[in-house]
Amino acid sequence: MDTAAAPFSSIRAYLLEARYEFLRLLRTPSFSLPALSFPPVFYLLFGVLLGGKGGPVAAQYMLAGYGVFGVIGVALFGFGVTVAMDREQGLLTLKRAQPMPPGAYLVAKMAMALLFAAIILLLLAAIAAGVAQVQLSAAQWAGWAATCLLGVLPFSALGLWLGTRVGGRGAPALINLVYLPMAFLSGLWVPLTMLPGLLQTLAPAWPAYHLAQVAQKVVGLDAGRPLLLHVAVLAGMTIVFFLLARRRLVR
């Protein structure tokens, strides 16, 4: 027969939940295609080809920016849009009625977002090292990747909260409305110093700015604010949005 009366462990459920969440989104081209291709393509076009005049330093700055751009996209869309759609379609209803271990749903989404983020970072690193001749020390590469991966966390919380606010159809629009202006205004696409003064002053108001500053600190190109400030903003944001989202999810 299939099993003895061993105590039942939920680990397999967590693993499978994560695996199938990843597969589910990989097979949703409207998510996986832009999520996986936009950051590398944008980086190649704007960071390497157009920004090539700035030489390896510009490409290095852009590597930090587009790395952050990529992981924020995965976190916001992977959480926001899917949570909104899951809620609208009743996917969450069935899962909550089934004996899915509590937390498996969010852990799975987090694992999915990290995996997508890792793929994007690998693609960006390949372009950076192969085409743009970006030269970083091993510690810098590792620090850049770790920063971007950890950056999934605060933006997952933001995405989760956004996803609990709107329906499945409104979610992509709302999230793009948050994502794209924030990316631009935080200096992810073009260096902040090229923006008008007012926008430069306002940049610290955007969460993405703080993650970008940490990533740029790793490659030595940040604006020079203390690391602790950025980390504190990101940590605070994670907690606030996660709690807000939880309040709406539990009900």
Binding site: D2, A13, E17, G90, L91, A97, Q98, P101, P102
Partner: protein
């Protein structure tokens, strides 16, 4: 072993629940005994869905008690003993049937083998297809497989055959009977009275958040000794409705459909008032009429 035979697997006791100012459940009592197929019937808005979502722990009651295997339904240990097929519960479109079953089985300590799930739900040839590419009937079968794959002691089937053709419906009934024979208790909600008639050991009729009748299908039918008259006539339904002994009169296409307590006087009067009347038919009331009568009475009482 752990529970006495008389102890119900799940129970709602004096449950009240309202959404805003709408009262969904008004002191509902419901017990699901082991090994029994119970059909919950009621018009839309009667409170069936609310009752199920309370039993599944999707909501908490505002008053009264909800128990699932003697535990609060939010307890994972209780829910590991149930299987669920929800009308409102969607399944991810992009996953394959095999993957969906694999995932759902992982929630349960002693799941059925994949082969058993396939056989019981009739999933031959569908295992490697994506859920979103299946027909409506095939999707219902997959949902049914997900409900039974954990080897549940209690199965919740919320309108399991809505949208299925007759063939597919009968296949699913066969599987429910098989599970019932293996000792699995079932709570079934349905719009199709013939479904209750075909499957249920016991029927509970719910209306306005309360149980208005309870018993075997035969007992429920016996609640109404009514007859049903159908005929083609020029008499307006509103006029016939006012006659003594007429419970309900309404047009059904070209026919007038009349539910009465005693047929003969009404038939006599119909023939008197409309000599041109044709297609006269008199039938004993079925479960459907009993159901309508029961829920109508309750509405009158409430008014």
């Amino acid at each position: 072993m752990t529970t006495l035979p008389s102890h119900p697997l799940a129970r709602l006791r004096g449950v009240r629940h309202q959404y805003g100012r709408t009262l969904a459940l008004d002191g509902l009592d419901l017990a699901l005994p082991a090994g029994q197929v119970l059909a919950m019937l009621g018009p839309n808005g009667a409170g069936k869905t609310t009752a199920i979502s309370l039993l599944l722990g999707l909501q908490r009651p505002q008053a009264g008690q909800v128990e699932l295997f003697g535990l609060p339904p939010q307890d994972l240990a209780a829910r590991r003993r149930i299987g669920v097929m929800l009308q409102a519960g969607a399944v991810p479109d992009t996953l394959k049937v095999r993957e969906l079953i694999d995932l759902t089985r992982s929630y349960y300590p002693r799941p059925r083998s994949v082969a058993d799930c396939m056989a019981l739900a009739g999933l031959d040839g569908l295992m490697d297809r994506r859920y979103g590419r299946l027909s409506g009937g095939q999707q219902r079968r997959v949902q049914f497989a997900l409900a039974l794959c954990g080897r549940p002691q209690l199965l919740f089937l919320d309108e399991p055959t809505t949208g299925l053709d007759l063939d597919a419906r009968q296949t699913l009934w066969e599987a429910v009977r098989e599970l019932g024979a293996q000792g699995c208790a079932v709570l079934l909600t349905t719009h199709y009275l013939e479904e209750a008639q075909a499957l249920a050991d016991r029927v509970v009729v719910v209306n306005h958040g309360r149980v208005v009748a309870e018993g075997t299908v035969a007992q429920i039918r016996a609640h109404v000794a009514q007859r049903r008259i159908r005929c083609s006539t020029s008499l307006p339904a509103a006029r016939v409705q006012g006659w003594p002994g007429v419970r309900r009169a309404q047009h059904d296409g070209p026919c007038l459909d009349i539910v009465v307590d005693v047929a003969e006087p009404v038939v006599r009067r119909l023939l008197d008032e409309d000599p041109a009347l044709t297609e006269l038919e008199v039938q004993r009331a079925g479960l459907a009429d009993a159901f309508l009568a029961l829920t109508r009475d309750a509405r009158k009482d409430a008014a």
